[in-house]
């Protein structure tokens, strides 16, 4: 039985875990789960995502994260992610900067069970050296090829529209890296707008791309992406984001208890 409460699911994530977060910026982010992680006072999390916003900022601002592996962290129209920025500038959080492409490459290698994967030559970018990406000789000729090593998250934390109680899940609309991170991670924690009977999910089978085999928790959390969007159910709450973007640490501490779950 993997259906449980948000509290129980978040308890599975131990301090120091490497977690990968679903969605993109304000779209289908596991916001409620991230708030619960913060309420439980997690420490030293390593947070991975191609393009983070609210979720990454919150974990950085409340001292839950020690490292961010990402290509972008910001709020788009609502300015920079202030708490993320400050934490990095003050050295409280290490920003292991990537480009979204290398985050994807690292997840692909992990999903395929291979130690590294070749990528296009982006070696003029400063972070290639900082991240330790290495060239190999192409054994089929043609010179050297840049590579990225696998990164296997301990948890993929994915917010979906519908899941069954075993943890099979569908995603409506853009996937972003979510199906890939589901394949790459050791374990999956799902938060879902609703838990539905198996038969309902089967009727929508062409959208059901997360099989249950490594799902360790399914949590029903209506509005679980709030203040982000979860189409077709709700749009982003831009007013809340505008307010959030100006919160300092004290404001953040209140925010995670005020916005429930």
């Amino acid at each position: 039985m993997v259906v449980m409460s948000l509290e129980e699911a978040a308890e599975r994530v131990k301090d120091g875990s490497l977690i990968c977060l679903s969605g993109n910026l304000l779209y289908r982010i596991p916001a409620a789960f991230v708030r619960e992680l913060a309420r439980q006072g997690k420490k030293d999390l390593r947070v991975m995502k191609t393009a983070g916003g609210y979720d990454v900022d919150l974990l950085c601002g409340l001292g839950c994260a020690k490292e961010v592996i990402a290509g972008f962290v910001s709020f788009e129209a609502f300015g920079l992610a202030k708490n993320f920025r400050k934490a990095v500038e003050e050295g409280r959080v290490k920003y292991s900067e990537n480009t979204c492409y290398t985050v994807i490459a690292a997840l692909r290698a992990a999903a395929y069970g291979i130690p590294f994967i070749p990528i296009a030559d982006i070696s003029k970018s400063y972070f290639v050296k900082e991240r330790g990406f290495k060239f190999v000789e192409n054994p089929y000729g043609g010179g050297k090829v840049l590579t990225v090593p696998a990164i296997k998250p301990e948890f993929a934390i994915i917010h979906v529209q519908k899941a069954d109680e075993d943890g099979n899940a569908l995603i409506y609309g853009p996937w972003f890296e979510d199906v890939l991170m589901a394949r790459a991670a050791e374990k999956i924690i799902l938060t879902t707008e609703m838990i539905v009977p198996k038969e309902d999910l089967r009727r929508d089978i062409d959208a059901v791309w997360i099989p249950s085999y490594k799902v360790v928790a399914v949590v029903e959390v209506p509005k679980g992406a709030y203040p982000g969007a979860c189409p077709p159910y709700y749009d982003p709450d831009f007013e809340m984001m505008e307010k959030y973007a100006n919160l300092d640490e004290e404001g953040l501490k209140k925010h995670i208890w005020e916005v429930r779950p």
Binding site: L80, C100, Y101, S125, L180, P231, D235, P236
Partner: protein, 239 residues
């Protein structure tokens, strides 16, 4: 003649839209209001077959400029699903034509810094370059844009190279640069009517040249811009 912030945004959008007249495909990433407008206009007025790879799907046909480039609205009007991963693969295979890239710092070589700078030993953190490192290096015609133009942004050499590549054009609120293949650096192509060689020289760390005036947006373009973005969200970028 005086120009409002909206006028300036319109000039930039119009210039970018026209650069897409002969484009095969275009991609824009997050936080890209001006490229969003430019692509919609190019598809409606100049290049209906332009392929638009969006972060939320393939060939969207949105009615309005949303407050976010991953707004759920957009994905409703796509022709097919598209993963960000596939878009990157398309570019890695050398099949992406135009990509729009922003630069917190842009240097004479066309390299971008979206990572961080140190000012008086203090780190100033930017968001990171998103997909830029790959796209700048592999797309055929990267178009770089910036909502501000000063000597801290247009620098001789970026402090950190987030993305290296040769821009097809760089669109700023003062002028448009193009890449001079022989010299291997940016040169001014046109100057917006509210600016001047003198102003650009003052506000750019690297050497610049005089150039003709950027042509204005057409009425048709402006009308379309106002229809897509009636509330003028596109101004935000220049404020």
């Amino acid at each position: 003649m005086s120009f409002t912030t909206l006028d300036k945004a319109n000039y930039m959008i119009s210039a970018m839209a026209r650069l897409l007249k002969d484009a095969e495909s275009a991609f824009m990433g997050v936080a890209s209001f001006l490229p969003f407008m430019a692509i919609v206009i190019a598809k409606k007025l100049y290049n209906p077959d332009l392929i638009w790879y969006s972060i939320v799907g393939y060939n969207p046909n949105p009615k309005h400029l949303p407050m976010s480039t991953v707004h759920p609205w957009i994905s409703k009007y796509c022709d097919a699903k598209l993963q960000l991963a596939e878009l990157f693969d398309i570019s890695a295979r050398g099949e992406l034509d135009v990509v729009f890239l922003a630069g917190a710092q842009i240097d004479q070589r066309g390299y971008l810094n979206n990572s961080h700078v140190y000012i008086n030993g203090k780190r100033i953190q930017f968001p990171g370059g998103a997909g830029g490192a790959l796209l700048h290096a592999t797309a055929r015609r990267p178009i770089v844009w910036q909502g501000k133009h000063d000597r801290r942004i247009f620098v001789k050499e970026v402090q950190r190279i987030t993305a290296a590549g040769k821009p097809y054009r760089v669109v700023s609120p003062l002028c448009i640069f193009k890449f001079d293949e022989k010299a291997g650096k940016l040169v001014v192509d046109t100057i917006h009517p509210w600016s001047s060689y003198k102003e650009i020289k003052e506000k750019t760390e690297f050497e610049v040249n005089d150039a003709p005036t950027t042509p204005p947006p057409t009425e048709e373009e402006i009308e379309l811009m106002n229809r897509i973005d009636p509330h003028g969200i596109r101004k935000i970028v220049l404020e």
